[in-house]
Amino acid sequence: MKLEILNAMSEQEIIEALGTRKEKIEIARKLKELKLPHKKSEKYRYYDIESFLHKEITLPKSGFEAKEHKNALIIENAKVIAIPKQEGVEVTFKEFSDVASNHFDSLYYLSHLLNQKAIVIRISKDSNFEIKHIVSSNEFLSYRIVLFVDSNVKAKVYESFEYCGDNLDRLLYGIDAIIARDASLDFIKNQTLNFSVEPIATNYFKLDSNATCNFLTFDFTSKSGLNIFKAELKEHAHFDATHLIYGTNSAKIGTISEIEHTEKSAKSNQDARAILNEKARGIFDALIRVTKEGIYASAHQNSKAILLNSGAYMASKPQLEIYIDDLEASHGSTTGQLDKTQLFYLRSRGINEVEARKMLILAFANSAISKIEDETIFNRVQIDFEKAYYGDTKLDCIKTCHECEENILKG
């Protein structure tokens, strides 16, 4: 079937067509209300969403055949094949209907309807693990992950991707992260794509009072893909999002998001950086909404893009929707070239223009990458960026940390 036919159906028909449980009728209703996007849909106007929905698909199936694994949840072609062996991290595969009630994205609801069961991870103790996605199938794949972070728990999740094959299809997946009171979640997504898969991640973050979430996404790619999310913040919750994209070829990539302050004194900060080469298109369509209940909010948004050549294209839409007066909100967006003064400074020290430009681009990327606290992950992401950008890594001489300096001096 083609997914777009769902638009013409009633909610009952959607349920039947997708073979979904009747309990999901509310989700079908949401899908019907929002409608699947078309090329003029406001949120998707810069992304070629129709080709994603036009294609003939067979309904995807997710599964669970987990064996224990030391520190990663591995999902291969929508099947869980390994789960992390860690105290306080429990992974099950089960029905999940308690979805976001007001996500803006119809694909979020679609993916919930496509999946009878979700991979549910409950984190009850401080923990640190990886979610690894392996895609080698040329079928349309879809699955959902639910992360529960219990009260007072600190969780760190690193999400990585591995694609093999040339004729990969599409991937529609996402995470519902429910972060309880006083809990914190660091979620780092590192997606480097050079295969023909089109991944759309549509996520939902729910932050209870005093909860914290750091959401970092890194996409260095020559193929299109989207990172969609909605975040809901209760009293004193703190949501920090950082996005870095490096696009080449004719990739259309970026972030479509909504962060909503639903209670008082929540904080949000979103920082998006894009480096665009060849004919790549960067998208930043991000809304921060502060509702009437969201007094004393602090909400900031920033988007910076560098176009490396003509043909590259940045579409930036930072948006603020504010319904109260007692808050602090701002956004900024710059698109363009490297800073002339910085470039001159480097050149005046004898560094040639090409090299100086590279240094500044690396610096631009580093401002986002350096928000990763974990040193191993920091290095992995930095190497991935350099490979994507230089085609190579020069990591050893970029960072002269104290420890390696001592080693150099000794050796």
């Binding site: 406001e42 009437k292 007094i295 893009a305 176009l307 490396l308 050549n309 003509s310 043909g311 590259a312 294209y313 940045m314 579409a315 930036s316 839409k317 930072p318 948006q319 603020l320 929707e321 504010i322 319904y323 109260i324 007066d325 007692d326 808050l327 602090e328 909100a329 701002s330 956004h331 900024g332 967006s333 710059t334 698109t335 363009g336 070239q337």
Partner: protein, 477 residues
Amino acid sequence: MAQEEVKKAISGEYKLGFEIDIEQDTVPPGLNEDVIRFISAKKNEPEWMTNLRLKAYNIWKNMEEPHWAKVEYEPIDYQAISYFSAPKKPPSSLDEVDPKILEAYEKLGIPLEEQKALQGIAVDAVVDSVSVKTTFREELQKHGIIFCSISEAIRDYPELVQKYMFSVVPMNDNFFAALNSAVFTDGTFVYIPKGVRCPMELSTYFRINAINTGQFERTLIIADEGSYVSYNEGCSAPMRDENQLHAAVVELIALKDAEIKYSTIQNWYPGDETGKGGIYNFVTKRGLCEGENSKISWTQVETGSAITWKYPSCILKGDNSVGEFYSVAVTTLAQQADTGTKMIHLGKNTSSTIISKGISAMKGQNTYRGLVKIGANAKGARNYSECDSLLIGSECGAHTFPYLEDKNALGQIEHEATTTKISEEQLFYLRQRGINEEDAVSMIVHGFCKEVFSQLPMEYAVEARALLNLTLEGSVG
């Protein structure tokens, strides 16, 4: 479709159905080809104009009213609107102007005679839909400047009108522009010849008067090579109860080295605190910087209307051309404004500046919506935007929706926006020095708007300040 109907119209088939009495001064509510023929006939328009109107009408018929703006209002019944009304006898001199109209001008603080004498401003006053009086025409004629109503221009300068009308805002541009193209009743035409610097500020005052009358002005300003003109548009409407639709179109064309400065003060009736009765203002304003080194600058102070839908724009086609947009938009009571600009950079080294100040008070909802687009060939194009919102009270809203699209690696877009309330510390500081709260707020608000007011011609800036005080009266505390 439309083509066929135009043919029919040209062949005169519709004339049989021409039932409206041309001697009448208003048409009954509703819109059809007969009404358009009536308007055109009333204005003694040549056939080409009638045909263009009919064409626009047929385009409009097949369009849908847009609803993407962040404004909410009751559906408009376009068939309940009367599309033409005129004062009884068009006067030939000021003496013949209805004293009541002159009195209304006085109340609005626009004494025509006094302005004429004191300020040296040529005034083309529009009451309802017909030009009542144009002054200073002789002085302008000495410089070869044409400043007249659009109706006169259609009759007297058909080549200029045919060449430029619809060239910046095509009749199919949007729903409201199409409607205006079909039914526009009057407006202003300005032509500044090559190398002429217009010796005075050109002003027009619009006023909405008759009940149930839609207002559909059409303005066309052409600045030929190396010329300069500053045009001021000010609007005011008396208190009233019915919602009124206003869908104006303004087209500006600046040729090589020419500059147009277009300033607006808009204070139409905003409705009451529940939003009842205010004016719906759906305006299409666009300027084309056609030639190299041309410049178009929009300055607007918007305090009125129940609904505002307005995006004065610049198409920067000529290399090195410059576009500017300075705006203060105030929404109080239950006003809703969705306003901003579009800066479309096509030429090399084009630059644009956007300074937008939104003030929301009471239940006002203020949205900035702006597009900055740097085309693939606009090498070296630059934009700087600053959009600040000031919130007064906890029931209002301020929304900022910029669309920033850069397709050129040598282009540069910088956008900054902040949303704040009046700082307690600033307020306290002023009050500690003995300034009462209302004055203190006023002082801060004026400071917030200063950058925009300073763009206005002097006498306009004074008026804008007075208007801002009046608008915000009672919304503080």
